[in-house]
Amino acid sequence: MATRRDLIAALSQAVGNEAVIWRPEDVRAYEYDGTVETRLPHAVVLPETAEQVAAVVAACNLLQVPITPRGAGTGLSGGAVARKRGVVISTARMNRIIQIDPINRLAVVQPGVANLAVSLAAASSGLFYAPDPSSQKACTIGGNVAENAGGPHCLALGVTTNHVLAMEVVTADGTLVRLGSPTPDIGPGYDLRGAFIGSEGTLGIVTEVTLRLLPLPASIVTLLAVFDTIEQASESVSAIIGAGLVPAAIEMMDRVTLQAAEAGLQCGYPPDAGAVLLVEVDGIADIVEEQAGRIRAECLEHGAMEVRIAEDDEERERLWKGRKGAIGALGRIAPNYYILDGVVPRSRLVETMAVVERVSAAYNLPIANVFHAGDGNLHPCVLFDDREPGARQRVLEAGEAIMRACIDAGGTLSGEHGIGYEKQQFMGWLYSDEDMENMERLRPVFGNEGLFNPCKILPGGTGCGEMAHDAAAIRAAGQDAYV
């Protein structure tokens, strides 16, 4: 068994002293991500090149120390929490945009580049990067690849996997390989690019990504439809899609969320609405106008009190600012939230939302709803105070009840946040043991023998089962135990 001293020496060798964080008070800042669970790593490294990443992975494998990759730590399923401690590899210093190629409409970036930074850099060429998670100002492309991130505009344009052409990755055993091909079509051979995206950092760490860029739409119309009830809003979503319209985005926010967002971000939301839909259509001006008119009509027919159309870019940005900051704004109402990420068929939206409401009442926990209504991707946010004894357990149970309802409605466990550690015990609801064993076989293909981002996605695995549920047990393992 290696000691912490051996580990730090090996890491310093790989990336230099200054890029190794090991003091107990420093690593404290890496025990969390965007979720509620925490786990203290032994060390954190900040590599700047793919070679350094490979050297770190090799060193950790040699010393048999677990590795957890981390982008900006904005993830919402605990993907960047080092469940078995060990070493966190942060991509924060790999944040260069290497190339924007307007002719081939692609961008080559390092993994630590923020999602929004790509679109900002491409804007002068009239291009943008389509997936737009709500945390896009801060979340990284590397993290997006790991979680196969989505976002409001993925309704029409698809998620991360539809926009990543090629990657350079360091696999779990420290080999530097290329996946995919920087051409419009997926290259010949097995699509390992597809297998890697959404693997939640369990197969390796991405060190360079070639992204597809799209031309900025010529015309955009953003509508804000105001409703008394979530049911009316949900029915409008079904009606819009049922009418054959494909908006760029359809987002829903409930009363609690609206009030928090308005208080925090002053985005002009109606304070007394029961729910709103934020709908965006883009494309050629005439068609956009016509579609916006039809969407407006559908909303009004299904009970909208008012349908507002953003007058200018400034108003559109304000409306979106509220949506994108909505989750964080919940911090105004409660010290903690637990955000779920379930998917149901659009046709089952209304009844699933009713279940969420019932769960909220049964567990006596307020739940805010803000989600991608267009693709049935729900984000109920359970609000609570972690300092209250027993609160966390009740929250986890409420979350489980909601996830169960999503599955029962024919849906799935994650739209975009990933499974991480938080939902792995539910995977059995969706998959048979054979299904999961088959998935598990992919890990050794990329050299993961159990050390690379351990205890994520699939339940079980050595030493992971007992951690699945109880946060206290994780803490009890001891924060200053040596590797």
Partner: protein
């Protein structure tokens, strides 16, 4: 209220648990934080700093020299507050954290002690400060642009370059300027500490711009340093003392507003209500006073009306953090510049990112301050601007330093100076 387990040494001024628990560590602040962008370390991000503070508050972490270093490296620019959807009052948290560090420092106790003494006994004492400012003012008279540009080595050139030139005599309490015609309203002007001594021309320009709008400007006696630097340093007790002095001096109903042309001072004065909230004798007075405080650009925009102005130039406006992030004023200064005939305004990508001046930061943290200054220099050079304009004395001097250090060949002006120049030019051309 601080929790019972807290390791804070000064419970009376401990960061409030309600403030700390507002942070849900979503991470949206990361890319807004200048120091995180430089080091890439979570402990040098707002989220990380709050987490460390929260750990100390919950009694699971002791303040160590390492922890203090991460707090010390914070610019207190508050860009994270603009980015934060939860409304975490980060500036307030950091001031209270600094109060804790000052109470029982684990590192650099002598430096911290000296800094506190300098702030209390030089910066906050007009006569002592005037004496201290004499040398730089004399130097400014001798240093022409050309002389500065030839100085070597670079650090000397930078130091000499950042002394404001052409600022004339100091403007101190007692100063008054009345409009030529009828007086529409009267405002109190904060002369401030360093501002009044070495930026006299900025004050005069401020008064002239207001006088053209029929506003009388009076720098009333009895006022003093605003206390912002003291609060940022965690010396909340002294900041409260200075706040009371200014409230007493300038709260009179004679004044329609209290106009401040230094973003840092304006932000602090708008938060006097917060600073004195727990003081039953002063809370109401402070709230009334804070409501009357206006930044120069904010007040001019409120006044409305069009005064002709003309200046053929390319200018870039660089936000002062405590204007953009603490006071959330970003559109008014730009609109005022856009109203000048012939003035082409160039927006740079990092305009609202801190330049690294940050009050005493350039002295306390010269390396990080220098890095941020050089990043600004690159952006300004790329913009092709002839004039850099800002709205805070610290930033002003940092851009002067950048100009000297990197041979940017730009003129640095306070927004009031630039507007005054353009309005004067329009007057003479008529």
């Amino acid at each position: 209220m601080a929790s019972e387990h807290s390791h804070w040494p000064l419970l009376a001024d401990a960061p409030a648990d309600e403030d700390l628990s507002r942070c849900v560590h979503c991470g949206l602040c990361l890319t807004a934080c200048p120091t995180y962008l430089v080091t890439g370390k979570e402990m040098d991000s707002p989220r990380g700093r709050i987490y460390l503070a929260r750990s100390v508050a919950e009694g699971t972490l002791l303040t160590t020299p390492t922890v203090e270093r991460h707090w010390d490296l914070c610019l207190q620019c508050r860009a994270c507050e603009t980015a934060c959807p939860s409304g975490v009052p980060y500036g307030r948290i950091m001031e209270h954290v600094r109060a804790q560090v000052a109470e029982a420092p684990q590192s650099d106790p002598v430096v911290r002690r000296v800094r506190r003494l300098v702030l209390r006994h030089i910066v906050a004492r007009p006569r002592v400060l005037a004496a201290a400012a004499l040398l730089p003012r004399k130097l400014a008279g001798l240093l022409t642009r050309e002389r500065v540009a030839k100085l070597k080595p670079k650090p000397l050139r930078r130091l000499a370059g950042q002394i404001p030139r052409g600022q004339g005599a100091p403007v101190r309490p007692g100063f008054e300027l009345r409009p030529a015609g009828q007086e529409r309203a009267r405002v109190a002007l904060l002369t401030g500490c360093i501002m009044g001594e070495v930026f006299g021309e900025v004050h005069r320009a401020t008064a002239r711009v207001l006088a053209r709008r029929s506003i009388a400007v009076e720098a009333v006696e009895g006022q003093g340093c605003c206390g912002a630097l003291h609060a940022h340093d965690g010396d909340l007790a002294y900041a409260r003392k200075l706040a009371k002095k200014n409230i007493a001096a300038m709260e009179s109903d004679r004044f329609a507003a209290v106009v401040v042309n230094s973003a840092g001072c304006g932000a602090a004065m708008k938060e006097y209500d917060d600073l004195l909230a727990a003081d039953p004798k002063w809370a109401a007075r402070a709230a009334a006073f804070s409501a009357k405080v206006r930044d120069f650009s904010e007040y001019v925009a409120e006044l409305g009306g069009e005064v002709p102005s003309q200046l053929e130039t390319r200018v870039t406006y660089q936000d002062a953090c405590h204007l953009a992030h603490a006071q959330r004023i970003t559109t008014q200064p730009r609109a005022l510049l856009d109203a000048i005939t012939g003035c082409q305004r160039i927006e740079t990508a990092g305009a609202d990112r801190c330049c690294g001046a940050a009050g005493l930061y350039s002295v306390n943290q010269p390396a990080m301050s220098g890095e941020l200054r050089q990043r600004k220099a690159v952006e300004i050079a790329a913009s092709g601007a002839q004039i850099v304009t800002t709205a805070n004395p610290g930033c002003h001097m940092q851009y002067l330093a950048a100009d000297a250090e990197s041979h940017l060949d730009v003129e640095v002006l306070h927004l009031a100076e630039l507007i005054d120049r353009a309005e004067a030019a329009a007057e003479t051309s008529r």
